[in-house]
């Protein structure tokens, strides 16, 4: 029982404490900071690993206490939490390693890593939150801890993007708070529970519940970058590469998507949301976002910006997956939470490597970069093919499961969306891959740095190598126990109650 209480708290505290200690450390104590960062990330990974093992065995982890009368603070680890916490744990460790190399010799590292840890603590809180109120606390903490990271460079552009970011997310947060408060007033405190709460709800509540659902999705949709609430995301890519990587792969957009998952599955319940006619609306918004993001990505000449629009598109796969009503399709959507994370973080790591090593930011500067940076370029190529959905990579498993699931429940149009989106993905990723490997370098690299025999700093190479292995294995070994797909299946079985 004690470990049942202790583990979720410890998992949260590791990054929280690391953050506090790092803020307190003087700027020049570089070695100690790295040690604390990596130690905390490693420790958290172990804790999450233990919980994943326990949950697979059927153990439960929960802490709850009443903050105010009727307002409970709940931390609970279930299979769904672990999907997100596991992803954030693994990627935090890798991003920390990457960030150490990326920010070498740059100022304000203490501030950066402090907020960085705080951001991951918030993500863990979002994953472990057991009700909407607790979720909201960490969700807002995430907003506040990511803002300093977005504006870290302190340039005019960064500050503008940051302002935009904070306006969007705080407004979204306010809408979310309104919806949660309204729901609380209407039906009281609702813990997240398998199958949701509104399976048989009286007719009188249908109206308010529908409006509340729209507000909840609107509030969460800002972070999940659902069109038309996506405006902040492409600008926020001025942040340093590790921040973009984390923002796009786990922290911000995923927190939004994860919130939508919780609301649909464990507050409303799939069948109730469907009966209220809410899912078809959500599906249409998600489908539109998928296509819109891809089309916009086509027109970007800046590599990170193209990746940003791609994120808008890809995150909505998760949302679309929720609306598929059957176990296969839903698992396909859920697993994309992890798949999109490892693929997108790979791509952002690579974009960072090109920028940091060769000074490349625009896509047309990439000509011949494959020869100069083969390891990075292999990672980028596989990440891009994963995004397109080429087998046997992770993205294929997502598309295959979502497609089969959609056909099973008669939502054939989803297959069309998947195919069109894949075509667009191919159209904006394949030219980049061509430039890497088949175009000849025409001009000297904009700003080249040398690292002896290695193509770039070892700190920068290893993280994308590891995530590349993940994105290959997540597809190739999808049928193995503890694969992301397998875990998504477990979640569907235990918590979605279809």
């Amino acid at each position: 029982m004690t470990t049942g209480v202790l583990l979720p708290v410890l998992a949260l505290m590791t990054s929280l404490l690391a953050s506090v200690v790092i803020f307190a450390l003087p700027e020049r104590m570089h070695g100690v900071r790295v040690l604390i960062n990596l130690g905390a990330a490693g420790l958290k990974l172990v804790l999450v690993g233990v919980m994943i093992w326990g949950i697979a065995q059927g153990r439960e982890y929960e802490v709850a206490f009443e903050m105010l009368p009727g307002l409970r603070f709940v931390l609970r680890a279930d299979a769904l939490s672990m999907l997100f916490a596991g992803l954030s744990g693994v990627l935090w460790l890798l991003t920390t390693i990457y960030a150490v190399g990326y920010l070498e010799d740059s100022p304000n590292r203490s501030r950066f890593f402090g907020f960085f840890s705080l951001c991951v603590a918030s993500t863990t809180g979002v994953a472990l939150a057991g009700n909407l109120f607790t979720f909201f606390l960490f969700y807002e903490m995430l907003t506040l801890s990511t803002y300093p990271l977005v504006v870290h460079r302190g340039t005019e552009k960064a500050l503008k993007a940051g302002r935009n970011y904070i306006i969007y997310t705080l407004t979204g947060g306010a809408v979310l708070l309104l919806a949660i408060a309204w729901l609380h007033g209407l039906v009281g405190d609702l813990p997240f529970q398998a199958g949701g709460h509104f399976a048989d709800v009286e007719e009188a509540l249908h109206g308010p519940l529908t409006i509340i659902f729209v507000l909840l999705i609107a509030g969460l949709g800002v972070k999940a970058a659902l069109v038309p609430l996506h405006g902040w995301l492409p600008q926020a890519m001025v942040a340093p590469a590790p921040v973009s990587a984390l923002l796009h792969a786990v922290a911000v957009v995923k927190a939004g998507a994860f919130g939508i998952v919780r609301v649909v599955f464990e507050v409303y319940g799939v069948s109730a949301a469907h009966a209220l006619g809410l899912l078809s609306g959500l599906a249409v918004v998600a489908a539109f976002t998928i296509i819109y993001g891809s089309v916009r990505a086509l027109y970007q000449v800046d590599l990170k910006k193209r990746l940003a629009f791609s994120t808008i598109s890809q995150v909505s796969y998760i949302v679309l997956g929720l609306c598929l009503l059957g176990p296969v399709g839903v698992a396909g959507g859920l697993v994309h939470l992890v798949h999109q994370g490892i693929m997108k973080i790979t791509l952002f790591f690579c974009a960072g490597n090109y920028a940091e090593t060769l000074g490349i930011h625009r896509i047309d500067e990439l000509d011949g970069a494959g020869r100069r940076m083969p390891a990075t370029s292999v990672a980028f190529t596989l990440g891009a093919f994963g995004m397109i959905g080429a087998p046997p990579l992770a993205g294929f498993i997502t598309k295959w499961k979502m497609g089969s699931g959609a056909l099973t429940v008669g939502m054939d149009w989803v297959v069309v969306v998947l195919v069109v989106s894949s075509l667009l993905n191919a159209a904006y990723f394949l030219p980049v891959v061509h430039r890497l490997w088949f175009a000849e370098q025409r001009t000297p690299w904009p700003q080249e740095r040398r690292w002896g025999r290695l193509e770039t700093s070892a700190w920068l190479i290893w993280p994308p190598m590891v995530t590349t292995v993940f994105l290959v294995l997540a597809g190739l070994l999808a049928a193995m126990p503890f694969s992301p797909l397998n875990w998504a299946g477990l979640i569907v079985m235990r918590e979605v109650a279809l």
Binding site: P391, F396, G403, V415, L430, H434, W437, F438, A479, M480
Partner: protein, 466 residues
């Protein structure tokens, strides 16, 4: 660098051994792979694997004497990946493995097409990639629907499910289109005469000899053969096959570069194979016999076409006799395509005529099949003459590096001689062997003569007008 060069011929050897030694009932279950993997072997795949491995082998030998050191490592990587995809898809028994290997072959093949890095190669590569991606998507949608109907991802379960599905036409359309891109089906073929010739010659040989057949295999293992007779689809495919066989030749004879002529010849030959597919779709009880002939045709055409493509990069010797001998050795695989008696082509043509007899097929366009096959033969040989003509016009005189000699010679020997010792599929019609060739020599020869006279007259006219 020498590792990248000399390891090329070694790569397909394991697959070649598998093709020669594996028992047709061999299965390998890989439950942890993708959505559950199943690999294995059957008679049809054995022939496909044999051809594919053999062709990659001779092309690999040729490549040793062909490639420059520039970008050799890159070429090696894409060659290896394409080869793995091409061989792997043949032994795949489940949808995800098949699709994975198919995609690997398609996307890595791009690296072979654009290898030379010229503007022309890049343009061809763009068309190749665009059409390939569309094809991949059609295959994905088709596979999704078929395996959803079957409730299984095992390939063998798809045909009955497709046959019984109420969306049969859509699934078939998607799969026919998707694999049709690779197989060079008319209207889906645009990339082919651009991409096959611009690749380095050994890559052209495998593109046109082996990889094109992967599209055909895709049809054979997914469409509802042997389940229901589909005369409408038979009609459609007869028309497409005819357009491919004759249209490919009509466009091909106007080409000025030898490799482009050969690429059109591949479209034309795939058109003839499409006629066989049409017959098998239209007459479900005939499908097993027709499949055996398809496999035979694939083996024959792959080896002959491989040899022709490789010969396009050979220099002719200076001595008069040697020169004539060389011309003969280059021309014979071409004549084999047209069914010259006592070549592999004669066997394939006779077997094809036998299974596509209108009496055995009950669908409206079946009665035109013999006519189409004869016209196809004439068209084939016209293209071969055109190839020799364009080749002779640009041929260099001089020595060839040993790798080229060995690769080309082994391809030619495989096509003309080794073929007779290779295991052929069982269930072939009886009267396609040597004795039948003697008895039916005239039926084989007269189209050859007609085409030769036509070509000779055209050549004379062209010479006089100069």
């Amino acid at each position: 660098m020498s590792f990248y060069r000399y390891s090329l011929p070694l790569l397909p050897l394991p697959a070649l051994l598998l093709a020669l030694l594996a028992d047709p009932g061999w299965r390998l279950e890989l439950p942890w792979l993708l959505t559950g993997g199943l690999w294995g072997m059957d008679e049809l795949r054995q022939t496909f694997l044999l051809l594919t491995a053999l062709l990659w082998l001779v092309a690999g030998i040729f490549a040793v004497g062909y490639l420059e050191n520039r970008h050799l490592r890159r070429f090696w990587v894409f060659w290896t990946l394409t080869l793995s995809g091409n061989l792997g898809l043949i032994v795949s028994f489940d949808v995800a493995s098949f699709y994975s290997f198919f995609a690997l072959m398609t996307f890595a093949g791009y690296g072979l097409v654009v290898h030379e890095g010229t503007d022309e190669a890049n343009r061809a590569g763009r068309v190749y990639l665009a059409m390939a991606v569309v094809g991949e998507m059609a295959i994905l949608a088709g596979f999704l629907m078929a395996s959803n109907a079957a409730g299984s991802t095992v390939l063998a379960e798809l045909p009955p499910a497709v046959a019984g599905s109420d969306r049969r036409w859509l699934i078939m359309l998607l799969l026919l289109t998707g694999f049709g891109v690779k197989a060079g089906l008319p209207v889906l073929h645009f990339w082919l005469p651009l991409a096959h010739p611009v690749a380095p010659t050994p890559a052209s040989a495998v593109l046109s000899g082996a990889m094109i057949k992967a599209g055909l295999l895709g049809w054979l293992v997914t469409l509802p053969f042997g389940q229901v007779s589909l005369p409408d689809w038979g009609n459609i495919l007869v028309i497409l096959g005819a357009v491919g066989a004759l249209g490919g030749a009509a466009l091909g004879v106007f080409q000025v570069r030898p490799k482009t002529v050969l690429a059109y010849s591949s479209i034309s030959q795939m058109g003839l194979m499409t006629l066989l597919v049409a017959g098998a779709l239209a007459a479900s009880e005939q499908f097993a016999a027709i499949f055996a002939v398809v496999a035979l045709y694939v083996l024959h055409h792959g080896l002959a076409k491989g040899s022709l493509f490789l010969s396009s990069a050979m220099s002719l010797p200076a001595g008069r006799w040697q020169r004539w001998l060389m011309w003969l050795a280059i021309a014979l695989p071409g004549l084999s395509l047209a069914g010259l008696p006592f070549t592999s082509g004669a066997m394939a043509k006779l077997a094809m005529k036998d299974v596509l007899k209108p009496s055995g097929l009950d669908f409206p366009l079946a009665e035109y099949l013999p006519l189409l096959m004869t016209a196809g033969t004439i068209a084939t040989l016209l293209l071969v003459w055109r190839f020799l003509w364009t080749f002779g016009a640009g041929a260099r005189t001089g020595a060839n590096p040993p790798g080229r000699w060995l690769g080309w010679a082994s391809a030619t020997v495989s096509s003309l001689l080794l073929f007779w010792w290779l295991p052929v599929p069982s269930g072939l019609p009886d009267n396609a062997g040597f004795s039948a060739m003697q008895a039916r020599a005239w039926s084989l020869l007269w189209p050859v003569l007609v085409a030769t006279i036509l070509a000779g007259v055209t050549w004379q006219i062209a010479r006089l007008r100069k």
